[in-house]
Each structure stands twice: as structure tokens, then as C-alpha cells.
Amino acid sequence: MSEHSLRYIDNGSFFTRIDALSKLLWVILVIVATFQLGTNQARGIMLALVVYIIVLLARVPFKTIWQAMPIILIMGTLLFIVNVLTVPSTRFIYILGFKVGQQGFDRGLEFFLRITIMVLASFLFIWTTDIRDLMTGLVHIGMPYRYAFSIFLALRFLPIVQQEVDAVKAAHAIRGRASYSPIRHRFRLWQRYMFTVIVNGLRKAESTALAIESRGFGAYPDRTYTKGFRWTKTGIFLIIFFIGFAAWLIYWERILGI
């Protein structure tokens, strides 16, 4: 009954009802557009749009967003720090009493915003998409169903792997710490999480593979579907709207020169 941050939330929201392929295309467009943007202001606006969709159009619970934040913050902050420390700067600013290079700071913020936008858009896709719809969609556009299904299975088991990590973390927590060095201890724990999760993951992946083969998977070059794929009008609207929005943003920063 525990909750996990990376799983489909079947809440019937506007964004959830959009077809899977339109949403996938939207995620790709968000990533492409983010790399086209040249200023942090424009990236900030893009991030605001993604957050708006997550909160209002997809109605993802705040708790779920909060649980996913560590992944985003750790990745974004690491990239930020690396850039602040490595990019040569000619101008300097003071942040919280620390002297940092202006160019390094700007570059760090750029990477932070990029990674945050991309990861949040991808998470939004996971939160709002029944992966089965993605599979039927990919088959609809010509992908062999075995390949489409492998993507499906990988995403299907993401929450279960997360559940496994939680169980291992809980079990390790009650065994206490056998090292005076917190870093060494933490490294050891992470090493062991990985080991346990990989070993159990492989065992379970084998069980799943055997189970789906024994249910006729791959018996024929194609298969039937009780729920076929259909493009949705809202999906098409989302794509058109986003292309317009991204074009306006690029125009705004490049032509108007914000």
C-alpha cells in the first residue's frame, strides 16, 4: 500500500486522457525546444509551462512531485556545481557570501534548468500514460510489437524496482551502521542496494520472460488488441499549441532580444 513516485496515476485528468503518442511527441518537442533556447529567462518560462501542465492539466499530487524532486535536484545541482567550478569567468558575483564567476553561474543555471525541464516532462509522461497505450501506439505507427513491448515492460517494472529498493533500504536501516565514516557507509549501502536490486531484478525479469512466453507472446508475427490506438483531438491540439508556443519563445528571445 505504499506509494511510489514513478508510476501511472489513473486520475482521468485532461492530460491523462490525451493519447500516448501525442504525449510522447510532446516530450520530444519539449526536449528539442529546450536545447534551442538561448537564455535562462526563456528556459524559466518553459519550466513554468511544464509545471503548469503537471499541476493543473495533469493534476499530479504534490506529494508525488515532492517524492520525485530528489532525483531532479541531485542531478540538476550536480551539473550546476560542476559548471560553476569549471567554467572560466571574467565577471564575478556574490551569492550567499560566496564569490562565484558570472559565466559559470549562468552556465550552471542553464544546465540545471535544462535537466529539470527534461526530467519533469519525462516524469509527466510516466505519471499520465498507461504504458499499454504507448505500446499499441508504437505498433500503430509500424514498430514490430516485440520491440514496442520491450519498452513497455521496462516502464511497467519501474515502480516494482522502486518498491524493491525501498524494501532493501528499510532492511538495511534497521541493521545500523558498521563504519565510523558516514561516506564509506553510504557508499557500501548504495553498492549493496544495486547488488540486491540487480540480482533480484534479473531473477524476476527471467520469471517474467518465461511467463509471457508461456502465455503465447511471440507466437505470431502480429497479435490482436482489445484496445486499439486512436489519435485524440486534444493530443493534436497539444502538439500544435506547443509548437506555436516554442516558436513564439524562440522568436521572443532571438528577434526581440530579451
Partner: protein, 518 residues
């Protein structure tokens, strides 16, 4: 796995001889083709599932076989009705309880419309009432003309329904025939192999071995009642251990716990755990038992009420400090292991408790390895141990520091055969004799009846009973509310009493029953 071609086609190996299913040679016919003949329910159906929603999961197999979508939808409807999951068809598969997961697995197999259905331990880790409902489903399938192969190491009286029984040991057929014949002729062998038999059958076998039973060994409760209807029992009532232990280690008062999705796993639960007791927490799948164990070791904090542990409020304990007082052995001991050898695993536990003197560490590890009979495995990787050894290592890692006063064991019989369970229970009883309090979370009513001082029964997040197993098993309403079922021994005693036989209270084990016979 031979019956659906996974062996030898996918898992490999060399098959000598020939196996045909529905006229197909399993070594020649592709596994996917054999899926039309053999439907297989794997031991852990959760890993069999390939989709997110209940109805999609049932449709998955027939879709692979290119059946007509309209026919598939009808088949999905019928299969879900069959197992009683029609109202949950839109649910996500991971939101199902253990029993519902098992039923969904069965529905997915039924929808394949195969003449042969193979069920691998379909009731492992299910509560007794759900086990009973799965058995009823199997009988319906049989009655509708399906051939059903049930693979199990836990023979309850359901075996009486089988037409044929095959006893396997070390890859060989030890016995085959009607269950009654196999049990009568090979009963001792079955027990020696670590297979569970109903207590009623065990009583018959024991009496047969002692030359006190000339008739057939009973395999159902009804047969046992008939057999012992004329037996007289000693009137001296075996004394029940009613000695009240006074030192309260854990006091829970109106404890509540709600997960983030507002689901209340515990509602107003109050109880005490006293020093030196063996207490069981029992109840249906999803009743709140595991949540309670996590609260006791500090992995979760109550969202209402209070737990006082060793005279301190639960909020004042840090998980690692509480770990010096309470040891929890997880259902899957692999989750607890951190090191590359058994020896290092035990050393880690000592270091984590601040014991770092090399001589002391070495001596304690040696003693613990010997005590739990795992000395031979000291240099082995913990993941390479047998199921029983892993369980014992799980206990050892939590107890080696010697400071734990309460041991919590989650589902001690899960994945264990009879011999391993008996060995684990021997260890647990020894630990209790040494003054360690034991709390078990279990579905195993036989274990509860034989070893427990007190049972706390949970249903829908609430405590509905707190008392001795004798009192628990005397209340059919309570058992029904908690999805529990009395042991076959209890049902035998009840059946005899209904026939007017005077049977004393407190016959909790096969030994008690035979000992009370005149």
C-alpha cells in the same frame, strides 16, 4: 516447466524420454504454440503480469494467440466473473491484495482456454480463507472438464480431491497413485521429505506406525471424525500456559497509521507485548500486520496514538538505536544482507553495535555460526545459501550482538518446507527460553496453535481479538471476520464434540491429541 515446454526449450538441459501435452511433443513444439494447450500459473503471479490493468492482463494471453477481440472481451468478462474480480477490472494490478493477485493470475490462465492448467504453489502466502476460495475455484475448473496439475509442498485435506498424486524426490517419482493409497503406503516418506500433511493424516500415520491403527489413514477431517468417534480421551485437561508475564516491553495505545494516499492501514490499535512471550499477529492479507511491524522497528511513525517501547515513546527512538533492542527478520532475508560472505555479514552486525574488539568479534561469529548450524557456509555468499540457511542467517545477523530483547519474524514459514520450519521454530523456542520475546507475523494457523502464547488478530486495520489460540479457535465468527480458518486438528476436535465425544481442551498438536487418547 516441462508441461509448457520451458524446459527443455528455454531453460535448456537434456530431456531423456518423451513428454506430450494435448498430443504435442514438448521438446518439439514451440513454447508459444504450447500456450494453446497448457496454461500455467507461476508461483509469484505478480511477476507473471505484463500489463497495468486487471482487464488488460486477462486479455494479454488471448491477444498473443491472435484471437478475435470480441471473443477476447467475452472471455475476459467470463474469467473475471469466474474468480470474482469483475468489479476490479479497471484497477491497477499493483493495487490488488495478495489474494486478488492470485485470483487475477488464475483468471489470466483461464482466459487462455487451455485444456490443461498447471498451478505452481497457488496458495503460498495466502490467508486461510483465501486459500479455501482458491481451492473452490480449482474444483470448479475440474468439474468443467479442465485437467489441473497442482504443484505443492503443503498437502492439506484438499489433496482428497485429487484423482492422482505424484510424489517427487530428488528428481525421481517416489510414489504415484490415488492420494489415499500414496499417503497410506508412503506417509512416513512424505513426512521425511519435508512435505506438510494435514494433522488428521499425521495422527493416522503415527498410530499406524505404532500398530494402533488397522484401518485406512484418514485424509479428510470427516474421515478422521468417523475414525475416532468411538475413542475415549483422558479427562485430565492439559494445562494452558496462563502465567501472566508482567514486564511490558511494548505498549501500543490507539495507534493509527495512514499512508500518503489517505489509506488507513491501522485504526485505533492497542496492545501490550510482555517479556518472554511468543505472540503472533494474524489476519487476512492487507489487514495491517506488516505496517504494524514497521512501526515497531521505527521504520514508520504512528500518525495517531502512541507506542511506548522499552519505557520510551516511539518518537524518541532513532531506527538504529531501536535496532539494538528489536530485531526484525524480513520475509525475504536477502533484503537484509550487506556483505559478500556469511562471516562478514555477522561481523557487520557486531560492528554496527559498536563491538569492534577483534578477538570478541571472531569468537562471537564462531559461536553464532555453530549455534545456527551454518559453520560450513561461513565463506559462502549469503545469496548462495539455501532458503533455510538464509532464514537462519537473517536471525543470526539480528541477534549476534546479544542486545535484542524482542525478535520480530515476518512470515516464518514462507518458502520453507516442514523440516526447515521445524528447525526455525526450534531456534525460536530456544531464543524464548533465553529470555527473548518473540513476535511472529503469520498466516500459518498450525504454527499459531502449536507455538504461540497469545494471538493478536487484525482485520481491516483494527485489532479484533487479543487472547490465547484456544479462545481464538473457539470463535467461528471471529475466524470468519479475520479470514482465518481453524486447523484440521481443531476441526477434528470440534467434529468429535458434535458427535458427543468428550475431548479435553488444549489439544494443540498431533502429540497432544495422541497423548490424550486412551
Amino acid at each position: 516447466m516441462l508441461l509448457n515446454g520451458i524446459i527443455p526449450q528455454i531453460l535448456g538441459g537434456k530431456l531423456i524420454g518423451k513428454v506430450t501435452v494435448d498430443g504435442h511433443d514438448v521438446s518439439q513444439t514451440p513454447v508459444q504454440e504450447l500456450a494453446k494447450s497448457t496454461g500455467m500459473l507461476f508461483q509469484d503471479p505478480e511477476w507473471m503480469f505484463a500489463t497495468l490493468k486487471v482487464e488488460d492482463e486477462v486479455a494479454f494471453g488471448p491477444e498473443n494467440l491472435r484471437r478475435n477481440p470480441d471473443e477476447i472481451l467475452q472471455s475476459v468478462e467470463k474469467s473475471l466473473n469466474y474468480v470474482g474480480l469483475q468489479l476490479l477490472r479497471k484497477n491497477l494490478v499493483w493495487a490488488l491484495s495478495g489474494g486478488q493477485t492470485q485470483k487475477l493470475g488464475l483468471a489470466a490462465v483461464i482466459a487462455m482456454q487451455t485444456p490443461l492448467i498447471v498451478l505452481d504453489e497457488p496458495t503460498a502466502n495466502l490467508d486461510p480463507a483465501t486459500t479455501h476460495s482458491v481451492h473452490e475455484l480449482i474444483l470448479r475448473l475440474r468439474d468443467e472438464g479442465k485437467s489441473v496439475v497442482l504443484v505443492t509442498k503443503d498437502l492439506d485435506e484438499f489433496m482428497a480431491e485429487a484423482d492422482d498424486m505424484i510424489l517427487l524426490a530428488e528428481g525421481r517419482v517416489v510414489a504415484q497413485g490415488a492420494p489415499r493409497d500414496v499417503v497410506s503406503k508412503h506417509g512416513k516418506k512424505i513426512l521425511d521429505l519435508g512435505v506438510w500433511l494435514p494433522e488428521t493424516t499425521e495422527i493416522g500415520l503415527r498410530l499406524q506406525a505404532e500398530g494402533k491403527l488397522q484401518k485406512e489413514v484418514p485424509i479428510t477431517v470427516a474421515e478422521a471424525v468417523d475414525l475416532f468417534a468411538d475413542t475415549r480421551f483422558k479427562s485430565n485437561k492439559p494445562s494452558e500456559n496462563t502465567e501472566r508475564k508482567e514486564t511490558v516491553l511494548i505498549h501500543a495505545q490507539d495507534v493509527e497509521y495512514a499512508y500518503g494516499n489517505k489509506f488507513k492501514a491501522l485504526r485505533g490499535v492497542s496492545f501490550d507485548i510482555r517479556q518472554g512471550e511468543i505472540v503472533a499477529i494474524v489476519g487476512q492479507n492487507g489487514a495491517g500486520k506488516s505496517t504494524l511491524s514497521k512501526l515497531l522497528v521505527g521504520l514508520l511513525r504512528p500518525t495517531g496514538g502512541e507506542i511506548t517501547m522499552f519505557a520510551r515513546k516511539s518518537r524518541q527512538w532513532r531506527v538504529q538505536d531501536l535496532a539494538t533492542q528489536i530485531a526484525l527478520v524480513f520475509q525475504n532475508p536477502e533484503h537484509q544482507f550487506l556483505c559478500d560472505t556469511v562471516r562478514e555479514e555477522l561481523e557487520y552486525s557486531l560492528l554496527a553495535q559498536g563491538i569492534d574488539d577483534k578477538a570478541i568479534v571472531s569468537q562471537r561469529v564462531k559461536d553464532m555460526l555453530k549455534r545456527l548450524d551454518i559453520s560450513d557456509t561461513s565463506d559462502s555468499h549469503p545469496f548462495s545459501l539455501s532458503a533455510g540457511e538464509k532464514r537462519r542467517l537473517g536471525v543470526a545477523t539480528m541477534l549476534i550482538a546479544g542486545s535484542a530483547r524482542l525478535l520480530i519474524v515476518d512470515e516464518p514459514t514462507y518458502g520453507q518446507d516442514r523440516r526447515l520450519t521445524e528447525s526455525l521454530m526450534q531456534l525460536i523456542n530456544n531464543l524464548r527460553d533465553e529470555g527473548i520475546t518473540i513476535l511472529m507475523i503469520t498466516h500459518d494457523m498450525r504454527l499459531v496453535d502449536a507455538h504461540i502464547d497469545r494471538a493478536i488478530v487484525m482485520a481491516n486495520g483494527q485489532k479484533i481479538f487479543d487472547g490465547t489460540p484456544n479462545k481464538l479457535f473457539q470463535s467461528p465468527e471471529l475466524l470468519q471476520r479475520a479470514s482465518l480458518r481453524a486447523t484440521t486438528l481443531r476441526r477434528l476436535v470440534d467434529g468429535l464434540r458434535e458427535r458427543g465425544v468428550s475431548v479435553p481442551d488444549g489439544l494443540n498438536t498431533v502429540e497432544d491429541f495422541i497423548g490424550a487418547m486412551q
